[in-house]
């Protein structure tokens, strides 16, 4: 199982890439309300980038149930 710190480190890189903001740091409480431009299409791009980076695949239900970055990290950890 992949280490939590590693997940957040990798997620931070992905967030910077997807949202084009070099200052972003992925933390558990982060939600769509906190980042400008986090709309449904960008959200999908984020999830797809996460899937590719970690080599995992989520179900539609898992994707639509996510509420914050903490839940995303937990999901990634469960699948790797």
């Amino acid at each position: 199982m992949i280490d939590t710190t590693d997940i957040y480190e990798k997620l931070s890189v992905i967030f910077r890439d997807v949202f084009e903001d070099e200052t972003l740091i992925a933390k558990p409480s982060l939600t769509a309300d906190d980042i400008a431009g986090w709309d449904s299409l960008t959200n999908l791009r984020l999830v797809l980038t996460v899937q590719k980076a970690f080599g995992v695949k989520f179900t539609a239900h898992e994707i639509t149930s996510l509420n914050n970055v903490g839940e995303l990290a937990t999901l990634v950890q469960a699948k790797t």
Binding site: R16, V18, E20, L44, K52, A60, I63
Partner: protein, 639 residues
């Protein structure tokens, strides 16, 4: 290297680590925004990088900044899926191919309504082309296992549906349709028998795709073979049911960069930007080993040896490309006679000297040699592709001549040919009989150049060519080639106006239009159609809307002969004045003085460099020219 070659655009260099930073700083770079954007687009970008670049292009457009030399193109998309998903990737990938793409999307799943209504967003946008991104879920395809009659009906209904969309586009705009084939879903019902049982999805999609392919020729529309693309990378990966259910994504996001690159190729091909010349390195590309060290007996080429067969496949591919009109050249760091040796005497070589239009073997750097090849062929650097196994040479040419396409190659020569063809640099939207002969034209030209050096003076030389110029108005038989010339000619082109097949058909019928298609033959062979002119009559003036000529026949006084023809017909029709315009582009400096040389008087010089010229028909001199003129199909002028 399997599907990864395609999905990851393996022929393009990997993007730099600081790609996003480079995007941010792009406006500060020298050389113009359009060129900087194109340079960034030339990397193998992933979905996020494409989105970033598309945003940059969008911002530039909002600020009304020039994207030149990118050529504007407006693409409408009608789709039964989420088209917002593909648009940013399309915009960024088009820049890779020299196109400033502007996309206009139909409302979700409003395909038919949008194209049939004259005042829909799509129709009002006046697109240059419409991408019909309809998949198996957007067609009236009803599975009816085992029922042949119902299967026939549903195939016809699906084809009729696509036909309806295309007719709607034709009725409401002059746009070309880019018609997708249907990627078959991988699920089978009977298993292996699906292809044999009528009415299964496997058999229905197969027949629909066949029908689509057959409907393209002669329609003016072009094909985007999504089915072929999806099969190449694997249908199971292409179709992602989760993403369809979740967000109506038409295919897996993994293949978005590839899909978008293909749209970019097609649009670029429509704008005449496909490449025309393949330059081959020799050592370890055309054959295995180094000719200068190993000698003719030592190089590896031919059947019976895996490396020899790999390089043979490079030669076979080059020959097949040549047969469809791609010109071959050689650039090699070698002594000339040593490099030519295998072409002349090696029994297993498929390529021979006669196949190579320009052979550059010397010790100059490759960039210099490639420029020399471009000059010798009268082709632009952006028509060139270099196939070279040496990463250092590739990097050097990319840096010095960014317009030249230089595909990345894997270490294994067995994959050279596949990588070259996957790159799509030679994308063609149509194939005419003249394409097949083009490689010969260039070689005949090289012989003409040789003869020219022997002739005492130009007049004697031209007279010795026994040229016959054939002039006729536009007709259906010539239309394919006319449209091709109009959309491909960049250098000898006064206005660079691009027209679709439909617009050319309209010009042909328009009584106020004078149209000319000109062919030239000489004692070396037939050059085919080499010049196209369109004049539009306004009052008693003819305005030269289009005047273009193939650079193959430069210096043959064809333009003088065409002017004589225009004057002849102007007199017959009672036209007083011919008005010409030169509109400058990146590529047509060659014809800056076209009208001055032909005796036109300058009327106006505009700020953007456009010049307007006029010639009085009554006062124009009648010239004697070293070619015979024949008239075909003209009602006004007797042969």
């Amino acid at each position: 290297m399997g599907a990864g070659l395609y999905a990851e655009l393996g022929w393009l260099p990997r993007p730099p680590e600081d790609f996003h930073a480079r995007c941010r700083n792009v406006s500060e770079q020298e050389g113009g925004l359009g060129s900087s954007i194109q340079a960034l687009a030339r990397y193998a970008l992933d979905e996020n990088q494409l989105t970033r670049l598309a945003k940059l292009i969008g911002e530039a457009r909002e600020q009304r900044l020039s994207l030149s030399p990118l050529v504007p193109f407006r693409l409408a998309i009608v789709s039964n899926a989420t088209s917002q998903f593909i648009v940013p990737a399309l915009v960024a990938s088009a820049a890779r191919h020299g196109i400033a793409l502007e996309c206009c999307e139909a409302n979700f799943d409003q395909v038919v309504q949008e194209v049939l209504s004259a005042d829909s967003a799509i129709s009002r946008a006046q697109p240059d082309a419409v991408l019909i991104a309809v998949d198996h879920r957007g067609l009236p395809l009803r599975q009816c296992q085992g029922d042949a009659a119902a299967a026939q009906e549903t195939v016809e209904a699906a084809l009729a549906h696509l036909e309806l969309i295309r007719k709607g586009v034709a009725a409401n705009s002059k746009a070309i349709c880019i018609v997708q084939t249907v990627a078959r879903p991988p699920e089978t019902i009977f298993g292996n028998a699906d292809l044999a049982v009528p009415g299964t999805m496997r058999s229905l999609v197969d027949r629909v795709n066949r029908g689509i392919a057959e409907s393209i020729s002669g329609s003016g529309d072009v094909l985007f073979d999504v089915a072929g693309l999806a099969e190449t990378v694997g249908l199971a990966g292409w179709h992602d049911p989760t993403l369809w259910n979740l967000a109506k994504l038409p295919f897996s996001n993994v293949f978005l960069p590839l899909y978008a690159d293909h749209v970019g190729r097609i649009v670029a091909a429509l704008r005449g930007k496909s490449r025309r010349c393949l330059i081959l390195d020799l050592d370890n590309t055309v054959w295995g080993g180094v000719i200068g060290d190993d000698g003719i007996e030592g190089i590896v080429i031919g059947q019976g040896d895996p490396t020899g067969e790999a390089h043979l496949s490079v030669q076979q591919t080059a020959l097949t490309l040549r047969e469809r009109g791609i010109v071959l050249a050689v650039s090699s760091k070698n002594h000339d006679e040593v490099a030519r040796g295998p072409f002349q005497t090696h029994p297993d070589m498929l390529l021979r000297e006669k196949h190579i239009a320009v052979f550059q073997a010397n010790w100059d750097d490759k960039a210099t040699n490639i420029e020399a090849i471009a000059n010798a062929l009268s082709l632009g650097l952006d028509s060139m592709v270099l196939l070279d196994d040496n990463p250092a040479e590739r990097a050097l040419v990319r840096q010095l001549l960014p317009q030249v396409a230089v595909p990345e190659l894997p270490d294994d020569p067995a994959l050279f040919a596949r990588t070259l063809l996957a790159s799509g640099y030679f994308e063609a939207v149509a194939f005419s009989a003249e394409d097949r002969q083009r490689a010969d034209f260039y070689e005949e030209n090289a012989r003409r150049v040789a003869l020219r050096e022997e002739a005492a003076d130009l007049g004697t030389y031209l007279a010795s060519l026994d040229m016959v110029m054939t002039v006729q108005p536009f007709d259906a038989a010539g239309r394919n080639r006319i449209v091709q010339l109009i959309n491909k000619s960049n250098q000898y082109n006064l206005t660079t106006r691009r027209y679709t097949e439909r617009e050319i058909e309209e010009a042909q019928r328009d009584p106020d239009c004078l149209t000319l298609q000109v062919r030239l033959s000489d004692k070396f062979g037939d050059n085919g159609m080499i010049s196209v002119v369109i004049c539009r009559q306004i009052g008693r003036d003819w305005h030269v809307d289009t005047w273009l000529m193939s650079c193959r026949v430069l210096g043959r006084r064809v333009e003088d002969a065409v002017l004589q023809e225009l004057l002849l017909q102007a007199r017959e029709r009672g036209v007083d004045r011919i008005v010409g315009i030169y509109h400058p582009t990146e590529r047509n400096k060659l014809v800056e003085d076209h009208y001055a040389k032909l005796g036109f008087a300058l009327v106006e010089r505009q700020q953007d460099g456009t010049t307007v010229w006029q010639l009085s028909v009554a006062q124009a001199p009648i010239a004697t020219l070293p070619l015979e003129v024949r008239h075909l199909g003209s009602e006004l002028v007797g042969a």
